[in-house]
Symmetry: C2
Subunit: 483 residues, 2 copies
């Protein structure tokens, strides 16, 4: 814990107060919007806008110079023209500010010498005052637990367990909504920009120490200190899973990345090798990055790769089975005891193989409760995929047909859904084995909301659920080599 | 059109009236729920429940025999125990009913001889009366334009342009909600079950003739009449795109499929070859199946594979670029005229390469209007991917900052979003080139709803948008060989 508080990033992510450059009476400027977003989330420390002329900005007293601010400042945020960044860093140094986020762009990511020289100069200034800054050309950070969001988009997700470091800045802000789709959120998120002083390896080290972070997500366009990164990542992945999305592997992705933050990318296969030797789980799309984080951050590690699939719709069950192979999992052979326990619970139309396809339930409570528990007890099963279709509408039609009024029927169905969700959400905790759900529904449905909020990991399709379990298995193999 | 009306499936999909077996006073039985669902969507023809004892079911007069029904019946739907299916089909034949849907299971999909013999017998009975039936072991059909839904789940999507034939039954019903996520819907959907009399090739022929169907989705576990299927598919794909998801390729998927409908599956590579020689676009997941249908059913065919990417966030732009290669597309080289036209519109932080990364807009209207139009005019560009992040929240923060009240600010932002969406939705119509959007938002956002409802194809991530454009390009190559 002491390591954590002594980490150079700690004060950037946990400032007691902030001096903010670039907000003004022009409320549509990027700086004004970033300040508005910071205030909106409810950051509780003092915020000091610095502006040469304006006396009040967003209801806060503004100061013309950092030296006028009445207390020692923890963090400086700079959203100002490239040309004056050096001067402001100088002022910060004189005022004893030790941490900064430089949002301003126009440095080493630009073609030509000028930007690179400018970047070198601001690093020299920072060094001379003992300042550590994030950026330049980054969008800032989120510490959801501290209500700190320095990016330009309001943070509307919950405080969560995913710690992210990203070489694309605005990318982080767009994931706020994406994570909300699962009821998830960031614990901490850092946009790296040009990594002039703080790079991916530093963030990895920091997120490993962060107690709120259960899984680390990396968005990588190119790694700067390769050997150092490998060394750090190897250590971190022994205690926390790391999931990486690398886009520099294709020629096209590489070119896009270069013009973006100026990082050097290498061939895809090289990165594949690097990730493998570090125990980093690789994702191949943005969706996969967070799907994997969701599973790796919530599920216990499996003992092996034998998967059971439970469904009451043939298609999604077959799709899950089909994707198991691609995910590196094999379909478990059900033990005789399991077959015997299942038999009386299944209708004659059901398939008592793996996938177990219920077709329809003889007893509505079996599907989310009795059946998965039987499967998870089987010694020949290491993990479970559960297709989560709540026949809610069907049950509703049935209940309405008994002559219940609409309101009463809704009440009955809602109680039923909540009860079923509560049981299903405990499956992995009870069994110590991973149990992941997949659905084509979303959080507009009570069932999905209830399951996710009660702690069940539910992904938006059978294939994505199974792929997540595959990633979990790969990580379990890595961990086993050290246990 | 005459072909369409003469197709044996026409009357199954367009019945004037329906006789329904299996609904009863037990409102939780599958038959009762299917009847409730049929009535709920508002099917306008007469519906005659047939039941040995009950006199009224769901507010409809029930008949004890089909021979008592006062008019000639177009379609019989059977949700009854396996053992009495033969007798009821016999009764139907006597009463002059020529079309049926047999939902009942327990036929050739079961292990052992008995089910197979039973299935043979009901086919013989049907043949002797000139009856054509869908199933057995299927869940029925949807004709959204006729408000016909014989499945057990309420149809809550819009009438749409995707025609589907599926070897998994309940699968169709679960896609209702999935399609709603994009504002899409089925034109017609058929669940095939054991295909005793009507198989995949028959449905393909029917959907090719259906004027409401712009693209055909197939969910395949195994093809029965291989040569016939190839012949039909080759013809159909010259006039309408076919997208197929085949799950029998892996050992696990094959086993799952076999126990499900008893279809024979073949090795993955074999099916790959079959699809290729028929011009069928293959999808590798359920999500991809409908992503591809969405793009192929809405977008004009591209002249080549040169893709332009427009983004204002580096990460999603790079992800799109990275996935282009995998989708068989190459990044277009922007022409000098385009570069010249773009230059004054981009801020100094922007990247004027492909992907065009705006970083931020000098003029808020440029991103969805001026910039994509410039790119689509370029002769070196065949298709456009547009990352659709509406900086709605950011604009909102800005507008609020000007001192507007919340309601007024919401009004301003909403007008702005609508205006931008209207322009962007016309891009492919104006240019004759495909323009597909990708976003991490969903229809809970006004921007996404407006874009999709006005006709822009917007998928839930950059990678999925680009993959859709890749599928469109593959289909365009197939079509070119015949033009």
């Amino acid at each position: 814990m002491n390591d954590f508080k002594n980490n150079p990033l700690y004060k950037i992510m946990h400032p007691k107060n902030i001096a903010f450059w670039g907000a003004s009476s022009n409320s549509m400027s990027m700086g004004s919007i970033q300040l508005a977003s910071l205030l909106m989330l409810g950051f509780e420390g003092n915020v000091y806008p610095i502006h040469p002329r304006d006396k009040e900005i967003k209801g806060l007293k503004a100061y013309s110079r950092i030296s006028d601010v009445p207390e020692k400042v923890d963090l400086a945020i700079l959203v100002i023209p490239t040309a004056i960044v050096a001067q402001v860093l100088n002022d910060c140094g004189e005022a004893g500010v030790k941490r900064a986020i430089v949002v301003s762009a126009g440095f080493s990511e630009k073609e030509g010498k000028e930007g690179k020289e400018l970047q070198k100069r601001i690093v020299e200034i920072a060094d001379s005052y003992g300042i550590k800054f994030l950026g330049p050309n980054c969008i800032g950070v989120v510490n959801s637990y501290l209500k700190l969001n320095t990016t330009f988009n309001p943070y509307d997700a919950a405080p969560g367990f995913i710690g992210m470091a990203s070489q694309s800045g605005s990318f982080i802000t767009q994931m706020f909504g994406h994570l909300s789709k699962f009821g998830l959120g960031f614990s901490q998120a850092l946009s790296l920009g040009n990594e002039a002083m703080i790079d991916l390896s530093d963030c990895l080290e920091y997120l490993a120490q962060c107690p709120k972070t259960k899984v680390i997500a990396l968005y990588i366009e190119g790694i700067r200190r390769g050997r150092h990164f490998v060394e750090i990542a190897k250590k971190v992945s022994k205690i926390k899973p790391i999931v990486s999305y690398y886009i520099g592997g294709s020629e096209a992705g590489r070119r896009a990345g270069q013009s973006h933050t100026g990082a050097m990318a290498g061939p895809d296969r090289l990165y594949d090798g690097v990730f493998r030797q570090c125990g980093i789980i690789r994702a191949h799309s943005i969706e996969e990055l967070f799907d994997f984080c969701y599973v790796l951050g919530t599920q216990p590690l499996p003992q092996g790769n034998r998967l059971a699939i439970l469904t009451h719709s043939g298609g999604p069950g077959a799709a899950a089975a089909d994707s198991a192979e691609r995910a590196g999992l094999e379909l478990a052979e059900l033990s005789p005891a399991t077959l015997q326990a299942l038999a009386p619970l299944l209708p004659y139309t059901a398939s008592v193989k793996n996938p177990v396809d219920l077709t329809f339930a003889k007893n509505l409570n079996d599907y989310m409760a009795t059946l998965p528990r039987i499967l998870l007890k089987d010694q020949q099963i290491d993990s479970l995929f559960l297709y989560c279709l709540m026949p809610q509408q069907r049950v509703m039609l049935g209940v309405l047909g008994t002559g219940q009024g609409l309101e009463q029927a809704q009440q009955i169905v809602s109680e039923y859904v909540k009860g079923q969700s509560a049981i299903a959400a405990n499956l992995s905790l009870e069994s110590g084995k991973p149990a992941v759900g997949g659905t084509f529904g979303d959080r507009s449905e009570l069932f999905v909301r209830e399951l996710q909020d009660r702690g069940m990991t539910v992904l938006p399709s059978p294939e994505r659920g199974v792929a997540g379990l595959g990633a979990l298995y790969r990580y379990s193999k890595w961990r086993k080599t050290f246990s």
